[in-house]
Symmetry: C2
Subunit: 230 residues, 2 copies
DNA sequence: CCCCGCATAATTGTATACAATTATACGGGG
DNA sequence: CCCCGTATAATTGTATACAATTATGCGGGG
């Protein structure tokens, strides 16, 4: 039998099975903060809430554990994981390197459509920034990075970066609501885009690199790290 | 209720539940090559072989999917994933950056015991290399990297690197069996160790960086990439 | 001969029942 | 009053039953 679309690391896209729906719902609830850190998730409770049995809930748990959102203790239960201040720092350092690599590869492989979407993204970002539309700005910021992840032409790198991106998303909206940072962020996005467009991979790498460091330092300076533990 | 050992991303260590045993068994069978790439894994067959029902097998599947060893197609089945030539290349490029970062951080955080194990590891590697003990050499090579992962003092980075390491392990033994490469590899390990010991993080980073590139180029030159698809 | 449609078999998805383990409550001894 | 053991309840782990989906094989029409 033949299987197409052979991703090495496949994300959970099965939104239409019960397990898939449970997975995405719990994930949403964790990221949105409905479930607090270290809160215990009970299979029956979640199953009843969604009108399903424990079976799909348990399977969703197994996946959420490997996604890093919960931790399962055998014979005990499933607990929402916390991200420590150090974890966030480490992630940004790792991302700094990988986003740089991604920008370099994107320079070599970006398609016409992707380039257009990126330019459009920056145009819209600057527009919404001038209007103070924080919601759209956060959305566009996420999308900018995702375009780059997709453009780098590497399933492995794309998956890794989306993973980390998702991870720190719990606090990202707060960070971007700072007017000054979002303006600076937009300017950095524009420079990265221009470097990619001009075909200067080395420059794109350096800029993307620096972009992450700046974002991290801004978080620290503004005390956003206090949202995390330890 | 309190939960200790709060890893953000937890690996599957539950070896004593049925599901845990199934997980590790299937993983072994995939890595050892018993199951071929694209082979379909049937829940009942594996369950019968291990004398368990489908339930623990299914849960093990969900975890193996996110580990990237199998791919589950909804309502169809579970298939052993292949790694393409490009995937391997991408992983080595990513690892090059991350191993560098890891070496730099290890320089700052390595403990006395870890340093001793690392020196011992290199001593033993050189010994077994001179005797041509390929099995032990592969084991020690893996362990060298794991010591560094543990020494970097970052759960996030350690997890990511172990992940990638695991990933390319399917073909690693073959690579190391080349006498010349293993000698070169040992020399590189020694230099990395010495840089860490002397506290030169920048140098350790560069060496670890280069070490990965060399390992990759050696694979290509010796045609080991042909074990992969595409 | 090939292609299509339908019946049947095989396989996965989910629900439920029961077993094993762990948490909780209560009561007696110190 | 506290500590501890035991009984009970709650929760997770596994097996099984059934539903839904997909693969397979066969016969008829072209």
């Amino acid at each position: 039998m033949k299987v197409e679309n052979y991703d090495v690391k496949k994300e959970v896209t099965d939104k239409y099975s019960l397990r898939g729906r449970v997975f995405h719902k719990i994930r949403e609830d964790i990221l949105s903060g409905r479930y607090k850190v270290k809160e215990e998730l009970r299979e029956v409770a979640i199953g009843e809430e969604m009108g399903v049995s424990r079976t799909p809930v348990r399977e969703a748990f197994r996946q959420l554990e490997l996604e890093g959102l919960i931790r399962i203790v055998p014979n005990k239960g499933a607990y929402v994981t916390g991200i420590t201040v150090k974890d966030v720092r480490d992630i940004y350092m790792i991302r700094s390197l990988l986003e740089g690599l991604c920008a370099k590869w994107a320079t070599e492989h970006i398609s016409r459509e992707q380039m257009e979407e990126m330019e459009e993204n920056i145009f819209l970002s600057e527009f919404h920034a001038s209007k103070g539309h924080t919601e759209q700005m956060a959305e566009l910021d996420n999308r900018f990075h995702e375009i780059m992840y997709e453009a780098c032409n590497s399933k492995m790198l794309e998956h890794a970066l989306k993973d980390y991106h998702q991870y720190v998303l719990r606090v990202r909206k707060k960070t971007l609501s700072t007017q000054t940072r979002s303006t600076a962020s937009n300017a950095e996005h524009r420079k990265i885009m221009e470097a990619i467009k001009s075909g200067d991979g080395e420059l794109a790498e350096q800029l993307a690199n620096r972009h992450m460091i700046n974002a991290y330092e801004n978080m620290v300076e503004n005390g956003y790290m206090e949202h995390y533990e330890e």
